[in-house]
Symmetry: C2
Amino acid sequence: MNSPLRSVSAFCAPTAGAALGPVKIERRPVGPRDVLIEIDYCGVCHSDLHMARNDWGMSLFPMVPGHEIIGRVVSTGAEVTDLAAGKRVGVGCLVDSCRQCEACDDHLEQYCVKGFTLTYSSPTRDPGGLTFGGYSKQIVVDRNYVVTVPETLDPAGAAPLLCAGITTWSPLAHWKIGPGMTVGVIGLGGLGHMGVKFAHALGARVVMITTSPQKGEDARKLGADDVLISSDAKAMAGFAGKFDFLLNTIPVPHDFNAYMGLLKRDATMCIVGAIGPAAALNTAPLVMGRRNIAGSLIGGIKETQEMLDFAGLNNITADVEVIDVAAINDAYGRMQRSDVKYRFVIDLATLD
Amino acid sequence: MNSPLRSVSAFCAPTAGAALGPVKIERRPVGPRDVLIEIDYCGVCHSDLHMARNDWGMSLFPMVPGHEIIGRVVSTGAEVTDLAAGKRVGVGCLVDSCRQCEACDDHLEQYCVKGFTLTYSSPTRDPGGLTFGGYSKQIVVDRNYVVTVPETLDPAGAAPLLCAGITTWSPLAHWKIGPGMTVGVIGLGGLGHMGVKFAHALGARVVMITTSPQKGEDARKLGADDVLISSDAKAMAGFAGKFDFLLNTIPVPHDFNAYMGLLKRDATMCIVGAIGPAAALNTAPLVMGRRNIAGSLIGGIKETQEMLDFAGLNNITADVEVIDVAAINDAYGRMQRSDVKYRFVIDLATLD
């Protein structure tokens, strides 16, 4: 028999805003193209908190959050020939897409024109189904949406690569960041600290842009070459026109006009944190320097694999605080207070 | 003697908001790299109106407006060997730049990091000087900032190519618009009508995006293949994700978020009309499709020449209403009411 028991222990938000607690869920049977994964670690993304509270009005309950999943293959369906039992694998923010649109053809499933299937709290493409995420002992995922994780990486630290990592890697890769370029990373949190690590490893000169001198010093330890305190008008003027790329990881609406003058002609500020209504845009810095504002959403499966391979070669993981699953509600509280450096990761061995 | 009399008839705004009237100005002597031009036609740009009223707080008086200049070479300095007397030439929005920065090296003098010298109402790089524009019988300009104009083009219709033309050409060329692409031109005025003509001539499918069905029909006559009425939510939804590029020529602050969903993944909306504070930006369409908002400013001298050569080959000029110089104050009034299709051009033969 290929599959063990289908009843799986998980941690669940029963309703919006309720405390999470243990439940048993029924996982789907392992289909011919599926992979059954025993989960070792799951990162705690800030979006988990928003989803559990239904801040975006799109949550479905009961909800098992978690889309930064690291585990090992237990078994696979008959058509999966390239993943043996025991292999270390990962699952990120998406577990399915239409597989037919131009975005899917381009390996950019995150922009699937029919909408991708979220790893949790999402209707499955088979009507009636609901996805459950990584705060769980096991998950079943189509092979096409499973990535392999280098054995050399610390698995707890690797978990956040599946969301925070790829969210910062994808724009850095798309805009071809490399040696000779100066990259500003705006904001130092779960996303920002990965942006600093990746931009540094890609060979760019990295400048941490923050209001907090302490965060600036922290960023230097992560690989930043310089720090720009954004509330210091004189310092900002000194960096005017110096940046080839700005990765804006600030997670809340903010005035981004002040940053635009930091860009060189034709350069781009990419927003990966604050999604939704923002401050009024002043078009003058765009027009006067042919500058660009863009956005970027997580990443496709192919580029997620490329990111993990790069992370393996360069020994890049997130800085994490590993917690017992029972501590998740406290962790949410600390995340709201930005009291984490830089990501909580649940050790699923603590889930019975 | 190489140069005729240095006293030149012009039309001048003596102070901010005052009516323009005739004056005599003293042009500079023709230096070794200069070209003396007898002006035949000068387009009336909407910015002339703003500058004459000092709307932007940067105007210097007395002011002779005009930066869409078509004329013929009268004489040249000794070092100018490639422009014979009688040659049809043009002068656009800029008559000098630092010539040393990266932008100048890249033939993009409009982004000169030290600031380019405006054709009128601008301090010259020699301290104490003030530039006077094309509402005048003559102008002296450094050869490097003079372009040649195909003899086959109607000279009055060619005048607006020097600002409205290059302002729309430059982004279309930079973003490599061509066959197989769908381009939306937002707004139909001096800029928009040139955008339609150029995008069509470059081989793109052109969609006029406007609130006015009448402007839509007008745009079809200029080369638009289709019309999208932006106040029609159903029509807008039908064009969602269809555009490779949007050229936004609306001249006033407006909500541009509604247009962003029209773009394909990775596509750009470029703002060329509204410079300054705009509406609040919603980042969701940027993040969800890796879409871009950019701006673009007029164009460099090299690309202005390329645009004119292309216009000559394709017989592209602006649709203009030729006026006597004495009608300029009335023309400003009509421009404020958007009562012009699509550009006033002054016939300088009417200036004594």
